[in-house]
Structure formats: structure tokens, C-alpha cells
């Protein structure tokens, strides 16, 4: 293997699982169900003395019917789907570039917004009288009195780790100590003498990316921001595959849990190191995530979140000890999780509300967190509604013929000239716009197309008239450009020919890709529209695209596609990782934790799939940008409807008789 990993697995072991166990990160979006085709591998044939083995294709089990079906629809070119193959003998496997799971490009700049600093943990400096023979009280009892007298802090308790070091700290500081007090209730840490320095960590556990902000709890400054891929990705890309993994594997939950805890510890280590600190300097943390991430992080089984009625084990905010979860912060460090709104709408969403504060606005705001499960909030200070809409993984590149995640090599931006129908592309990892025929360095060669790229591609195909408002390839476009070509009866568009790709195969957008994007965007739009209907809003004043993915989407293309409702384009903004920002706000201001709890109870959750009008709204939203709802903002840009009005496409009999 290019990874150099080598090992023995039991005969009959699944190749994808075997590779994962050997530490080879293969992309898998469907979680091994022979559907996404992302785990393609090459079986090397022959005797390899270096490895001491003879590798043959038939040392893997024969392709399953599903794999054969996949290979008929997609060009496998002799490759195998690792998830479909069982290891029956010695094999040497090469992992093609596009099958490797790689570190992602992450939007992680913490926004600079003003916020009142009132953390849950504060430092108090206390001086005490040295003990003498006339005073029989213990040091802790005497410290309690001092804390009450000097800081009006009554009835405090003492963390056991602070108790262990109490006497030595007092004497080392000559009976002057700096106490870190949590919520005016408990002493977490004692340090001899006067000390400054109080640090906390705000964490957003996304299903794909985990982001941690290390903050100075006195100044509110972000000292370091670190991000890592969620290691649970290897057990399934989308949330439900991870729930399935926890349901079906005996050690599943504990593996998922340990993975994310380890990642948090690594992020804490990196972030503190970057600031010249140690993880044990962290005294407080706020963690947010969607309900499944929240449950797995807490070691709670996500089984019930896997199906209706999606009941969480707990939805209110929790105050815990970080060490109880296996986090190697300060031994007494506290950890707060924001509340959930519903089984599908999580603490990450509450954090977004804290960050964007729609409850303080008169404008009607629509906040959309685009992901596998899009979360939607609509409203203003009068009323807030929340829903989630199952968009599926199409926006993350799954179900798309040449789809991939946002990693180097992915086409992320697309423009199509409406006259020549020629494309221009931008590839992650290369700054220049790429035109057909350009001679390119290796890093500029495309390996596939990511979510933002596919959104722009479909919108541009529509703007250029290559696809019609119903999503069908326009046969007239095939006469105008060789890029629009037909495989049998269905059209496709060659976005990047072989000379522009790293794989030696063209990157094409097929009719089925367009259908997959139509389904995903219609689910998202229908969710927003149902909330608008509930709220009584004819239109929205502002659209906020939250989440890492949201910052890569072009608002204009999102609107052309009909992903979001009509709105002044200047008022469509991407806010990046708003959930991480909200977690940071709750870390820096304990009153915002109270506010979060109030918000979570106040927001009305709407279960969109149970709404009787969902199907109607969904079907109407399949058209580009929409079959029914007007988009006045886009009027100057959209292609004119064709002259015949497209009433009827099979008028054979009528035409025949009208001609007579």
C-alpha cells in the first residue's frame, strides 16, 4: 500500500474495515454499503518479494451483485470497492488518490465580536492569618472564612484535587493564595500567592470537523484556534451511519466516544502549546454539537436519536467535570454543554442562536446550517422557529458522480460562459482560475468536485441554458457545444477534460448529479418555506449561511439554485463557524448559558416531515430556482423561459392533426 501499512487479518475480513484497522484512512461516505463508490482500491497483481507475498485479484472475494451494478453505472476500471470485498488471501492494495480520506480545508477564523466577559470561573486572591496553637480549625475551614470575609463567597465547596494540594499551596504562598472559583460555588484550584492566567476551551463537535478555541477567560481573547477532522468519520460519514455503527457493533459507542475525546485532548494540547500553556491550564470548557455528537461525546447511546420520535436522553444543559469524560484538562476543570432544542436540532444550533442573536432583531432572519442534516431557524424577537431538514450528503459530494469532500484537488468554484458554454474552474490548493487547455502543475489538477463546486456548477449550467428550469439537460445545448454530450438518452456536461484532472478521467456533471442536487436543495428550501408559512412570513429580511460549508457557498449561486428563498443579495451573509462562536460566547459569559437555556425552551421546534404540506412544498421546490415561488432579486440574471412555454412535450397526435 502507498501508506506502507501491512498486517494480517482473518480470512473473510471486510477490506474496508481491515484497512481502517491497519490505520489506512479510506474515504467512505455511505459507511460501507457499496453505494457511494468512494472506497475504490486497486489490487496489485504479482509476486512482491519486498513484501513477501503474492497478490492476486482472486485473493479478494468476487464482486457482489451490488458492486457489479455499481460498476455498470460508474467506471470502475478494474478497481474494487473495498467495502464490498472480503480478504481471502495475500493482497497488495494501492489506494488511489481520490479514495484517500484527507485532512480538510477548514474555515476557522474566530469572529471578533464584542461580548461582556463574565466567565463561570473567576480568580480571587485571599490572604489568611498563619495558624497557631490557639486555633484548632483546619486550613480549609479557615480559608472558607477568609473567602467569605474578603470576597463575600459563602458556603463554598472544595474540589478534591485542590484539597490534596491545599496545605502545601497555603504554606508555599505564605498563607496567600489565588483561588479559582466556579459559579461562586466551588473552589477548583488553589495556587500559591497572587496569580493571573485563567483559560478555557470552547469546542464545536461537528460531524466532520471538530473546532476548539482556546480563550483567555479574563480578557476574552482567542489565544489559539485548532481544528481537526472528526475521527468518527471513518465509521460513517453521516450521522445516521454512526448511530448504526453504535447500534450494531458491540464496542461501537465506546470507539466513537474515545475517538472524539482523544481528538479533544489533542486539540487542547495543540492550542495550549501554541499559546505557551499546558492542557492542565484549562479550567473551564463549553462543548456544543448536534444531538448525536452531543450524546456520543457524553458517552450516551445515540440509539433513540436514530429513529422517530428521536428522543434525546437529556436535552437540558449539563455541568460536568471534564475529567469524568476522560479529558486531560486541569483535574478539577468544569465542562458545560449547551442544551438541545429537539432530537434533531442540537446544542450547535443553540450556539448559533447565541452568536447571531435573531431573538434581538426586528428583521426576520433565516439561519441555515447546510450539512447532511440542514438545520434551519427562522424568526425575530417575537418568535423563533427551528427545524431540521434531511438534505442527504449530496452537498458534501456524496451521490455525485465525481463528488468528493472539500480537500485539495476538489473543484470548488465554477463559471460557465453562456455564449461559448466553456467553463472556468477553481481548484482547492491552487489560486488561479483554470481555463480549458491550460497546462497545469500537479496541484492544480482536479480530483473531483466538492459541495460548493457542485452548487455553482448546477447554477451556472442553468444560467447558461444548458439545463432547463426542470433540471433536464437541454438537447439544444448539445448542438452548441461538444461539452454537452449524451450517454444514451441522458445528457452530461464535461466540466474538466482529462488534461485538467489528476485522475486521467474527465470530471463530468451527469443528469443524475443534477437530480441529486435538486432533491437536496428542495428538501432544504421546503424546510425553510414551511417555517415561513408557520411564522406567517411572506419573505425573509436576512439570510445567514452558517457552518464551515456555508462560508464557501456563493450566495448568488445558492439563490439561483433555489437553495435559499428570495432576499436582497446584500443581506445574504456567510458567518463561518457560528456554532463555535456561540460556544465561545457561553464560555466567556455565564449569563449567556442561562440565555441559551431560555432560548432552547422558547424556540418552537417544527417537525417538517410531519407537515401535510411538506410533499407539496418539496415537489414545487425541485425546479430551478423554484417552480412556483418568485425570485424578483434574480429576475435580471435568469434565462428567459423558452418561447413555446414548454407546455407539453409529447404532442405527437395533436401536432399531427393540427398540421392536417
Amino acid at each position: 500500500m502507498p501508506s506502507g501499512r501491512k498486517g494480517s487479518v482473518p480470512r473473510g475480513a471486510n477490506l474496508l474495515k481491515a484497512a481502517q484497522e491497519l490505520g489506512v484512512e479510506l474515504e467512505s461516505i455511505c459507511g460501507g454499503r457499496q453505494t457511494c463508490g468512494k472506497c475504490q482500491v486497486i489490487v496489485e497483481e504479482g509476486h512482491f518479494p519486498k513484501h513477501g507475498l503474492t497478490s492476486r485479484p482472486d485473493h479478494l472475494s468476487a464482486p457482489t451483485a451490488r458492486e457489479i451494478e455499481y460498476s455498470q453505472e460508474n467506471r470502475l476500471q478494474g478497481r474494487r470497492l473495498a467495502c464490498a470485498a472480503e480478504v481471502l488471501g495475500d493482497v497488495l492494495i494501492s489506494v488511489p488518490e481520490e479514495s484517500q480520506a484527507r485532512k480538510q480545508v477548514i474555515a476557522k477564523a474566530a469572529s471578533e465580536r464584542t461580548i461582556e466577559i463574565e466567565p463561570a470561573v473567576r480568580l480571587v486572591y485571599v490572604e489568611m492569618q498563619p495558624p497557631d496553637m490557639s486555633d484548632a480549625r483546619g486550613d480549609w475551614e479557615r480559608l472558607q472564612v477568609a473567602l467569605e470575609e474578603q470576597w463575600d463567597l459563602k458556603g463554598l465547596s472544595l474540589d478534591s484535587s485542590a484539597l490534596t494540594a491545599l496545605q502545601s499551596n497555603l504554606r508555599q504562598g505564605n498563607f496567600a493564595v489565588t483561588a479559582a472559583v466556579w459559579q461562586n460555588r466551588e473552589v477548583l484550584r488553589l495556587q500559591p500567592g497572587y496569580r493571573e492566567g485563567l483559560y478555557g476551551l470552547a469546542v464545536d463537535i461537528g460531524s466532520t470537523t471538530v473546532v476548539a478555541h482556546l480563550c483567555d477567560l479574563r480578557t476574552g481573547a482567542v489565544l489559539a484556534t485548532e481544528a481537526a477532522m472528526n475521527p468518527q468519520v471513518r465509521y460513517g460519514e453521516d450521522l445516521m451511519s454512526r448511530v448504526s455503527y453504535a447500534n450494531s457493533e458491540p464496542q461501537g459507542l465506546s470507539r466513537l466516544n474515545r475517538g472524539v475525546i482523544r481528538t479533544l485532548n489533542e486539540l487542547a494540547e495543540k492550542a495550549t502549546a501554541a499559546a505557551g500553556l499546558l492542557p492542565t491550564d484549562i479550567l473551564d470548557a463549553v462543548v456544543v454539537g448536534n444531538p448525536v455528537m452531543h450524546h456520543i461525546f457524553l458517552g450516551l447511546h445515540p440509539r433513540e436519536l436514530g429513529g422517530a420520535p428521536f428522543t434525546p436522553a437529556v436535552s437540558s444543559a449539563l455541568d460536568l467535570k471534564a475529567s469524568d469524560l476522560g479529558l486531560s484538562f486541569h483535574p478539577a476543570a468544569r465542562l458545560h454543554t449547551l442544551p438541545l432544542i429537539a432530537g434533531h436540532v442540537g446544542a450547535d444550533n443553540v450556539a448559533v442562536l447565541l452568536a447571531e442573536a435573531p431573538d434581538e432583531q426586528d428583521e426576520v432572519m433565516l439561519i441555515v446550517d447546510v450539512g447532511t442534516n440542514a438545520e434551519i431557524v427562522l424568526g425575530n424577537r417575537q418568535r423563533l422557529l427551528a427545524a431540521s431538514s434531511p438534505t442527504g450528503p449530496a452537498f458534501e459530494g456524496a451521490q455525485i458522480t465525481h463528488g468528493q469532500r472539500a480537500a485539495p484537488g476538489a473543484i470548488e468554484r465554477v463559471r460557465i460562459d453562456p455564449l461559448s458554454l466553456e467553463p472556468r474552474l477553481k481548484v482547492i490548493g491552487y489560486d488561479e482560475w483554470i481555463r480549458p487547455g491550460a497546462s497545469l502543475p500537479h496541484e492544480a489538477r482536479a480530483t473531483g468536485i466538492c459541495g460548493s463546486g457542485i452548487i455553482e456548477a448546477v447554477a451556472e449550467l442553468f444560467l447558461a441554458g444548458i439545463i432547463l428550469p426542470d433540471g433536464l439537460f437541454n438537447p439544444a445545448a448539445a448542438e452548441r457545444s461538444p461539452r454537452v454530450r449524451y450517454q444514451g438518452r441522458t445528457g452530461e456536461y464535461v466540466l474538466a477534460d482529462e488534461s485538467l484532472t489528476a485522475t486521467g478521467l474527465p470530471v463530468v456533471i451527469t443528469q443524475n448529479d443534477i437530480r441529486a442536487i435538486q432533491l437536496a436543495k428542495a428538501a432544504l428550501y421546503a424546510g425553510s418555506k414551511l417555517l415561513m408559512n408557520h411564522w406567517g412570513a411572506q419573505q425573509v429580511d436576512r439570510v445567514i449561511l452558517a457552518g464551515a460549508f456555508g462560508s464557501f457557498i456563493s450566495p448568488y449561486h445558492a439563490m439561483v439554485l433555489g437553495l435559499i428563498p428570495d432576499c436582497d443579495l446584500n443581506k445574504v451573509v456567510a458567518v463561518g463557524n457560528a456554532a463555535g462562536d456561540g460556544a465561545r460566547f457561553a464560555l466567556l459569559n455565564r449569563n449567556l448559558r442561562q440565555k441559551a437555556a431560555r432560548l432552547a425552551r422558547w424556540v418552537e421546534h417544527v417537525s417538517t416531515p410531519l407537515e401535510s404540506s411538506f410533499q407539496d412544498e418539496f415537489v414545487a421546490a425541485l425546479g430551478l430556482p423554484h417552480s412556483r415561488d418568485p425570485y424578483p432579486t434574480l429576475a435580471p440574471f435568469l434565462p428567459q423561459p423558452s418561447a413555446d412555454g414548454r407546455t407539453g412535450r409529447r404532442n405527437r397526435i395533436r401536432e399531427k392533426h393540427q398540421l392536417v
Binding site: 445516521m240 447500534n247 422517530a308 410531519l610 407546455t647 407539453g648 409529447r650
Partner: protein, 230 residues
């Protein structure tokens, strides 16, 4: 548009072709008119159904499978089919025409995805099947009750979540326990499924989309009916 040509002037074969065109374009009133005209010409209700409506919906199914038609167009076609069917249904019963078959369909317990399953139901109606749609979040008991009540040829189950699809296996096991499995064709569908899963839980087939569901249903019903009884 229907005023533009006088269907009474058309050959019967042309009216059948017109029904296909109008189904394709989702023109319900036009389909109804053509059905009435054919009945007036003493075509049997069964022939109107099979040579007119079902033949027309076949074309819709093929183009849906090939990605040329999409969900909205297919729904319109299915509605037009339904409009024609409403006229034919009482007449089919009256004339004792052979039944194409009955389907009981639902989304399994824990899953609230509705649309794909509804589309399958409508396409099956388009193919002439009688469809009993049990809705979403359907448990094994509800499926069993419906099977006793409607005596279907086919049971269709849908799941869109990897977490809910194992419940299909639970339903099939319950069918086996109650001795109902052998009399039924069990078809399953939904984005996270595949053939291997269908085989593993003991379903007869996995259907990737509504068009394939119809093809599979027709094929398996034909096989079942050609088997010697007993």
C-alpha cells in the same frame, strides 16, 4: 388544448397514443376525455386500462428511470392516470376484469420519510395495481393487520435511514412467524439500501427507484401467477 382536436374524429389507435402523450404531459382532463371516448366505442374497461393508461405510464416509467422525467412530472402523470382510473375502477369491478395485483406499502417504524414511498405507490397505481398506503412510522403489527385485511400480492417497505432499515428485517421475521411470508412478494427500497441488504433480511428484491419497483413488481407477480397452485 383539448379543444384543438376533436377526439371523436380520431382512430382508436390514435386515441391510445393520445392517452400516452397526455399522461406524459400530466393532462388529467384530457386523459379522462379519451378514456370516456374509448368506452363509448365499446372498448372493454380492461383494454382501456392496459392498452391506454398502463401502456402510457410505461413510457413515463422508462423516462423517469433514465432521468429524463423527474419527480414533479411523474407526480403529474400519476395524477392524470388516477383521474382516468377513477372512471375505470367501478367498471373493472362490474365486468370482473382480471386484477393486476394489490400492494400494501409503508415506511417502517422510526422513519418518517414519506415522499419516495408515495412516489412508488403512485407509479404502482399507474401500472394498474391497487395500492394501500399505510403512511410512515408503520410497525409490524400494522403491516400484518393490513395484510390480513387487503390480501395483497406485494408488501412494499421503505426506509431512508440506516438506523431504521433493520426494522424491515423485523417485519419479515414476523411475517415468517405468522406463516404469511410465502404468500407475499416483499419489495424494499430507500437510499441506504442495496441488494445485499435485501437478501440478508429475506426480502424478494431491492428496488432502487419507483420505475424499477414497478418493473420488479410486474415481473415477480407474473412469475408467481405462473407457478402451479399447491
Amino acid at each position: 388544448m383539448s379543444e384543438e382536436i376533436d377526439i371523436t374524429q380520431l382512430e382508436t389507435a390514435e386515441i391510445l397514443e393520445l392517452i400516452a402523450d397526455d399522461l406524459y404531459d400530466g393532462l388529467a382532463p384530457e386523459v379522462v376525455n379519451s378514456v370516456k371516448e374509448l368506452l363509448k366505442r365499446n372498448m372493454t374497461p380492461y383494454d382501456v386500462l392496459t392498452k391506454g393508461l398502463v401502456a402510457g405510464m410505461d413510457i413515463v416509467g422508462v423516462d423517469f428511470r433514465d432521468g429524463i422525467l423527474f419527480v414533479p412530472e411523474v407526480l403529474m402523470a400519476a395524477k392524470a392516470m388516477k383521474a382516468g382510473m377513477e372512471i375505470l375502477r367501478p367498471l373493472l369491478v362490474e365486468t370482473g376484469a382480471p386484477q393486476v395485483g394489490t400492494l400494501v406499502i409503508g415506511t417502517v417504524k422510526g422513519d418518517i420519510h414519506d415522499i419516495g414511498k408515495n412516489l412508488v405507490g403512485m407509479m404502482m397505481e399507474g401500472a394498474g395495481f391497487t395500492v394501500v398506503n399505510l403512511g410512515i412510522n408503520v410497525d409490524a403489527d400494522t403491516f400484518i393487520k393490513a395484510i390480513h385485511e387487503h390480501k395483497p400480492d406485494i408488501l412494499g417497505m421503505s426506509a431512508l435511514l440506516t438506523t431504521t432499515m433493520p426494522y424491515m428485517g423485523v417485519v419479515i421475521n414476523t411475517l415468517k412467524e405468522q406463516g404469511l411470508r410465502d404468500q407475499l412478494i416483499v419489495l424494499v427500497g430507500g437510499a441506504p439500501l442495496n441488494d445485499a441488504f435485501a437478501e440478508e433480511i429475506g426480502a424478494d428484491a431491492y428496488c432502487r427507484d419507483a420505475a424499477i419497483a414497478v418493473e420488479t413488481a410486474k415481473k415477480l407477480v407474473a412469475i408467481k401467477r405462473s407457478e402451479p397452485i399447491g
